[in-house]
Amino acid sequence: MIDPIILFFLLGATAGLLRSELRLPAAVYELVSIVLLLSIGLKGGIELAKQPFMDLLPQMLAVVALGFFLTLAAFPVLRFLGRFKRADAASIAAHYGSVSVGTFAVVIAYLGSRQIEFEAHMPLLLVLLEVPAIIVGIVLARGLSRQTRWKSIAHEVFLGKGIVLLLGGLLIGWIAGPEGLTSIEPLFFDLFKGILALFLLEMGLITATQVGSLRQYGLFLIAFGIGMPLFSALVGTGLGWALGLSIGGTAVLATLAASASYIAVPAAMRISVPEANPTLSLAASLGITFPFNVLLGIPIYHALAVWAHTFARG
């Protein structure tokens, strides 16, 4: 059975492709993303409180390494197979080495409605996976030059809206614990999927605007936008399995690996690698990979996780 939130995405995409007058005001889009980011953070924080932090360290380090690896793996493909300019290849690679919070929300909802358990500290891994790709992307574009203003880049990366709200939510959830949060549950937990539905409606509208650019940049970008997440999901599944994650947790990690950023990385690249063409990376990440993951990818990654666990056990 298809999840209704996916239908909201399709509604938005259809309305956009048909050039409907439907449009969500920017303020609504921001409200919806703020609540989603806080919800995800809070949920993760609550669970973080239940386990010794030190036990998570290996997973945290592994996930940071994953971010480095995926970006470095994507770059040569884009540069040599795709024949992109250095800056463009670096920027697109950074998008795919990082993560998409929207895709994360969808996989959470997917597992939730199928009552599949997953490790509750996943939001922490989400935060960790956002950052390394940005650093690699900048270095790939610029080299390790002295001139790179790392201080202002660090500011841009760590104090962007996404990280502040996710980390802030994590900390609040951690400190307040499950009981402390009961009073704010109706907004942040009960409304989660409804708000996610509105978010996906908007994402559908935005995705539809990318079709024009896709037509322009052609087949390689489409192939990359599907092939790269499949490859990343395989790596993510392998890592999840190696770290001993549950089936659900493995599926989430695979989805995280497969997802491509469209908020944090574009903003950082625009400032730090301005000569990279943002239309290219957004067309791929929003026009191809986001819909692919949401519509087809997540069930595939789930199947991969099941397969890895059965295979390993058997």
Binding site: A26, Y29, T209, P274, L282
Partner: protein, 100 residues
């Protein structure tokens, strides 16, 4: 009531540049600026303001001719190549020249 001529520099560019531009402008001795949110279209395609990466700002600075020219030249040199940006200058009369 006596009036004085100054330059109005108007810049339309990507919202992501806001804080950078503000710093540039202040460093170059403008005494103030005004910003409004905008959308539009130009050589770099449609920027419809549906979300952050796609929004424009419209920035105005009233200042003396020299400062206006310096800022315009600076912005053109540093941002024209990589960012969606236009800028234009016009003459305005102000009443209190010491404010600008």
């Amino acid at each position: 009531m006596q009036s004085h001529t100054r330059k109005l520099l108007t810049v339309v560019t990507e919202a992501v540049l806001e804080s950078t531009l503000v710093k540039d402008i202040e460093r170059m001795n403008a005494h103030g600026y005004t910003i409004t949110d905008a959308r539009g279209k130009g050589h770099r395609g449609v920027r419809s303001a549906g979300w952050e990466a796609n929004s424009n700002i419209r920035l105005e600075v009233v200042c003396d001719e020299e400062t206006a020219g310096a800022i315009a030249a600076y912005l053109q040199e540093h941002y024209y190549a990589d960012y969606a940006m236009i800028l234009f200058l016009s003459d305005v009369e102000v009443l209190r020249p010491e404010k600008f």
